[in-house]
Symmetry: C2
Subunit: 302 residues, 2 copies
């Protein structure tokens, strides 16, 4: 079996140096470093140079009253992103996906993904979930802090908050030499199918969540789960966990509140879909999504 | 290779019926169902019957002014937990671990884990992180909602918030026929070692996070990551993702801000530690933790 292809949004060259995030002198020196660079964003969407590289400016481009996050180092140079305010409700999903596809450097989409998820999280988590007060940026941009006042009375509660990463299981049910792909109710094209997926919940393992989701959405009973690959999906900050799950029987009971349809497909049919053949039995959406990795790995023998 | 042992806190018999969580009549009927049961908790700690089963009471035991969460169904009967207020700073970590070890039913620790994480999350997330206003319980206890007022002015922002699950990578570095175990600075016993671990961050895959953590903590370069198993760890709500990672060289550079020590151990040494032999080269802490699963699977040939 060939190695599993590297999923989109993985393999950033960023060295995160998280052991220095609490070190304010380190942060100040990184800011003063002439090689320091600021990742340019258009809201949450990526900005690319003409050759497809990420666009980096100088720190002077950032709002002097705004907060910065130190993403880490690339090629030894400190890399920052401005924790700018984004208009609420801004989505920029297609700009993100199209931008990430156009990136020419290995791992650039993963560097951008970290920045996008971080900026978005700060925007939607400015207040303390524990006590409701406004929080401040801490740990070089990697946390927010609810500052107690000097006497500890009347100020914030002292809670620290970290960026969220929400695990999602995404999986192919497998029976004999076929796998299951489904079409979500919200898919724009009636021929578009993908792996089934759902958020992992508290109190679940990956294997528990795969079995629950496949049973809920397709009515199948999972007998074995094998993990294949994972990717961050920065809209806003999922961790996609890709698996293949053997099931007892191909009989389906579709949850019509989630899925419009689900079909069993064999390797030749998946190959045609991956190749984008117009008469393939189904079409796929985003080549960067891990559903592609799963289907490619499966036709390769995973 | 024998099958990988089932990690602690997995395999709950709970049927989560999450497609009904938005269905208020379903919730009301479940509450009125004479077979409905309330999971008894002591704060966040489990309450067990003398025979080690989880202790379930009737809904009449819950505060009539408090919120309930519908966990799901077990044996066809609706299972609730009270979203009771817990004194801030309550930890109950050892009561949780000891209680989970004493449970006699398969999957009971996983059922309890879901309830514990949910109750704890509501306690620490009563306010809207987006606008600071107090939120209300929604979706049968599985979300909180920032209610806008009738005119949409002056009320909440309409944000919905879901329980958090924080992915953590936990891994054995492997070189030749030895694996790496480390001793955290906060481990109470100087002979206690375990797998290295760390929170996965935004913009990372599982594989990226494993490579980063091992490089940061032990200075080793990862060449290959294989996933083995996962478990929820309900203190408060981690998803532990267990891997083995081949590394280039056994030379170590220990991050002394995290680790007191790290040592390479072979299969015989791990077997002695798993068996709890007093003269084993290291001791382990919690049998329910996935570090045990990883080490057991590794000595079994994983």
């Amino acid at each position: 079996m060939p190695p599993i292809p590297k999923p989109g949004f993985t393999g950033s060259p960023l060295v995160r140096i998280d052991m220095e995030r609490d070190n304010q002198p380190y942060f100040d020196e990184a800011m003063a470093n002439p090689s320091a660079r600021l990742l340019r964003l258009d809201g949450l969407a990526p900005v690319l140079e003409q050759d497809g590289r990420l666009s980096w400016g100088s720190l002077a481009e950032a709002d002097p009253d705004g907060d910065l996050a130190l993403l880490g180092l690339i090629d030894g140079a400190p890399r920052f992103v401005a924790l700018a305010r984004i208009a609420p409700g801004i989505d920029q999903r297609m700009a993100t996906i199209n931008g990430a596809r156009a990136m020419s450097e290995p791992g650039a989409a993963a560097t951008y993904a970290a920045a996008r998820s971080l900026v978005d999280w700060h925007n939607r988590h400015r207040f303390c979930a524990n006590c409701g007060r406004e929080t401040v940026v801490r740990r070089s941009g990697w946390a927010r802090f609810c500052v107690p006042d000097a006497e500890g009375i009347g100020g914030g509660c002292g809670a620290e908050h970290y960026p969220r990463t929400d695990p999602v299981v995404i999986m192919l049910a497998e029976h004999g030499d076929r796998v299951l792909v489904g079409r979500n109710l919200n898919m724009p094209d009636a021929r578009m199918y993908s792996a089934l997926a759902g958020f992992l919940e508290v109190g679940e393992s990956i294997e528990d969540a795969v079995a629950r989701e496949l049973h809920e959405e397709a009515g199948v009973i999972v007998t074995e789960v094998r993990y294949l690959a994972s990717q961050p999906w920065p809209m806003p900050s999922q961790l996609m966990i890709g698996c293949i799950a053997k099931v007892e029987s191909p009989a389906l009971t579709i949850d019509s509140s989630e899925l419009a349809d689900a079909i069993w497909v064999d390797r030749n049919e998946v190959r045609a879909a991956l190749a984008g053949e117009p008469d393939a039995p189904f079409h796929m959406r985003f080549p960067l999504a891990i559903a592609h990795t799963l289907l490619q790995a499966w036709v390769d023998g995973a």
